[in-house]
Symmetry: C2
Subunit: 192 residues, 2 copies
C-alpha cells in the first residue's frame, strides 16, 4: 500500500493526488483504503515514517559497531545511507519534496528523528577530532551538513541505467570522509 502511495505521490505530486487515485492504483475501493488510513495526510505520514524507520535502522546498526575507528564508522554509515537512497529513489524523492505538506506536529516528529542522525554524524566527527584523526579546528556541525548534502543529493542525480551502484556508494563515501581530512591541504593558500 505504501509503495503504491509513494508512486502516486511521486508521479502526480502529493497536492494533486487523491486517496481515490491511490485506491484505484491498488485496485480497491476508496472506502476499503479508509479502513487503514484516516486521511490523505495520514497516508503521507505513514509513508515518510516507515521510510525514516528504515533509515534509522542504518544508524542503529552502525552505532552498535564497537571498537571501530570513528572515520570507518562514518564511511560505512555514508555508504549504507547512499545505497538506501539509490534503492528507494521514489520514496526518498517523496520524503524531500512532500515533508513540508505535513502539519506541524507530525512533521516535527519526523524532524526530531532526523536530528538524531545529524547528532550521530556530528558526534563521530568530534570523536575523530579528539583522537587526532581530524583537524580540531574544523566546524563539526558544518562538516556534518556537508556530509548529509553528499548523501541526500544522490537521489537527484543517480541514474540506475547509467551509474554503477557500488561504485557510486564507494566514491561518495570516500569523498565524504576524506572531506574531513582538513588541514592536510593547509599548504595551499585558502583563496582570497
Amino acid at each position: 500500500m505504501l509503495d503504491t502511495a509513494a508512486r502516486i505521490f511521486y508521479e502526480r505530486g502529493y497536492a494533486n493526488a487523491s486517496v481515490q487515485d491511490v485506491a484505484e492504483a491498488l485496485g480497491i475501493l476508496k472506502g476499503s483504503l479508509y479502513h487503514y488510513i484516516d486521511t490523505k495526510e495520514d497516508l503521507l505520514f505513514r509513508l515518510l515514517d516507515e521510510t525514516q524507520d528504515e533509515v534509522h535502522g542504518i544508524l542503529e546498526e552502525i552505532d552498535a559497531l564497537e571498537h571501530m575507528d570513528p572515520l570507518v564508522k562514518l564511511r560505512l554509515y555514508v555508504r549504507r545511507q547512499i545505497e538506501f537512497n539509490m534503492d528507494n529513489l521514489v520514496r526518498v524523492s517523496v520524503y524531500y519534496h512532500e515533508l513540508d505538506h505535513l502539519s506541524p506536529a507530525p512533521r516535527g516528529e519526523l524532524l526530531a528523528r532526523r536530528r538524531m542522525h545529524e547528532q550521530f554524524v556530528t558526534a563521530l566527527v568530534r570523536e575523530a577530532q579528539e583522537r587526532g584523526l581530524v583537524d580540531p579546528r574544523l566546524d563539526a556541525e558544518g562538516a556534518s551538513r556537508c556530509i548529509f548534502a553528499t548523501i541526500i543529493w544522490t537521489y537527484r542525480w543517480y541514474s540506475p541505467e547509467r551509474d554503477d551502484r557500488a561504485h557510486i556508494a564507494e566514491t561518495c563515501a570516500a569523498f565524504a570522509v576524506n572531506g574531513l581530512a582538513a588541514g592536510r591541504l593547509d599548504h595551499l593558500p585558502s583563496g582570497r
Copy 2:
C-alpha cells in the same frame, strides 16, 4: 519583476501561482505584465535563465584566473557558488523546485548550460590529478557530483538568522576540496 515572480512562485509554488498573482504583487494590471512576457512559463524561464546567467558569471570569472593551482580555483569556485546560493535563497529554491515545470526545449537549454559547470569542475579535478595533487584513481565525474551536492544543498539548510555566511562558505569549500584528497586516508580500511 523577476524578484517578485520568484517570491510568488516560492510562496505558492509555480503550479498554483498565476500571472495575475504576480501582477497584483507588482501593483500593475495583468495586461501590463503581458507587455513583457508571453506566458507564465515564459516568466519562469526568464527567471531561471537570469539566475543561471549570474551563476555562469562565477564560472567565467574563475576560469579566467591564470597560473593558479586547480584546487585553489576549485575552492574559490565552490565558495563563490555557495555565497551566491546563500544570497539568493528564494531564486535558487525556485530553480531546483520548478525547473521540471518547463517544457523540454527551454529546460534543455538551461540543462545544457548547467552541464558546462559539471564539465568545468570535472576538468579541474582531472587537472589536479594530472599534476599529482589528487589521487588519479578517483572518479573525477563522481567526485564532481559530490562537490555539486555540497554546493547545492546549502539552499535547503542555510539559515541567515542562525548561520554565519562567511564561515559556512569557507567550511563547505574546504570540505569539498579536501574531499578530493583521496588516497590520503588509505591507511584506513575501506569498510566491508
